[in-house]
């Protein structure tokens, strides 16, 4: 007990010392503060809105798919997929967890949000693969791509899917492990 009391006393003294040092920490002028915040905020927005911009650009370029010979159902399903992606990104970002709630609530929301993001593939992957298969079928039926080019295209798509899939799977695993770890700690905290 005495060891713990001494340790805690030392920690209190060290904390007071740390605070004194940090009180001496200057913050650069207001302009730099706002600039740094805006740059960081823009970087965070960039992460979510660039995919949306590409999706919207893709929608405007979809008439080009028609001129290449793809059928109307392929183009319509492509536009629908892009719109669904944009809608999902906007909706998810509107519901970003807030950091001003108590720690347990905020951490719980962050973990659930990350799990939701990590599991989007359960809808996205089947839809994407189905559309790819539909597009390839359409190419063969309506455009008449020869076998050599078709195998080349399928081979390229398969390599891309395997590499992307492996990287995405690993990232998903890491995100889910971290989210579960946080949720376990919350349970332990609530049940202590």
């Amino acid at each position: 007990m005495e060891t713990t009391d001494n340790t805690l006393l030392e920690m209190q003294q060290q904390m007071q010392q740390l605070r004194k040092q940090l009180d001496a920490q200057k913050i650069v002028n207001g302009r730099m503060l706002r600039q740094a915040m805006n740059q960081t905020a823009n970087r965070l927005r960039f992460k979510y809105f660039v995919p949306c911009i590409f999706a919207v650009a893709g929608i405007f370029l979809s008439p080009a798919l028609l001129s290449l010979g793809f059928s109307l159902p392929v183009v319509i399903s492509y536009i629908a997929m892009m719109l669904a992606g944009v809608a999902a990104t906007v909706i998810i970002n509107v519901h970003l967890p807030r950091m001003d709630k108590d720690l347990v609530t905020a951490a719980s929301e962050v973990s659930k949000f990350r799990k939701l993001n990590a599991n989007w593939y359960k809808v996205g992957a089947p839809v994407g693969l189905a559309w790819l298969a539909f597009m390839i079928w359409d190419m063969v039926k309506n455009i008449g791509v020869d076998a050599e080019k078709l195998y080349g295209l399928i081979g390229g798509i398969a390599v891309g899917l395997i590499i992307g899939g492996l990287l995405g799977w690993k990232n998903r695993r890491d995100v889910l492990d971290a989210a579960d770890d946080l949720l376990d700690q919350i349970d332990e905290l609530r049940n202590s």
Partner: protein, 156 residues
Amino acid sequence: MTEREFETMVREHRSTIYTVCYMFSTDKDEVADLFQEVLINLWKGSGFFRGDSALNSWIWKVALNTCISSDRKKKRGIRTEPLSMDVDLFDTSAEDNRQAGLLRERIGKLGPFDRAIVLLWLENLSYEEIGQIVGISPSNVSVRLVRIKDQLKKMQ
């Protein structure tokens, strides 16, 4: 909250924010990254702050939540105009920094929520205040602190 008011608030509470970031970081760059992320979250949340809790409690919540929830793997992006620290707490040549380092070492071995609880306790917040910030009852805070003290004892 206007930008000026926000700036004033950050200046007044900078040592609180830096303390939290320091206790959850492993190097100077990470402290600076976390500090900026805390400021972003404070700014985002300033529209929701209605003064129904103390300003200090609100800042503790945002700073602790940001650090606990921070995704370190994605942090190594381009960072321009960083808010750097004048006080380099990771330079262990000074005795004061070594003491701060000892404190961080002890607290760093605790889980993130226990780290938060002990930091709030070292700041002389009441069990009720700690409970409100963490989201558990004051009696749970008391039980938790006993366990943390046991853990610290075993670290000797």
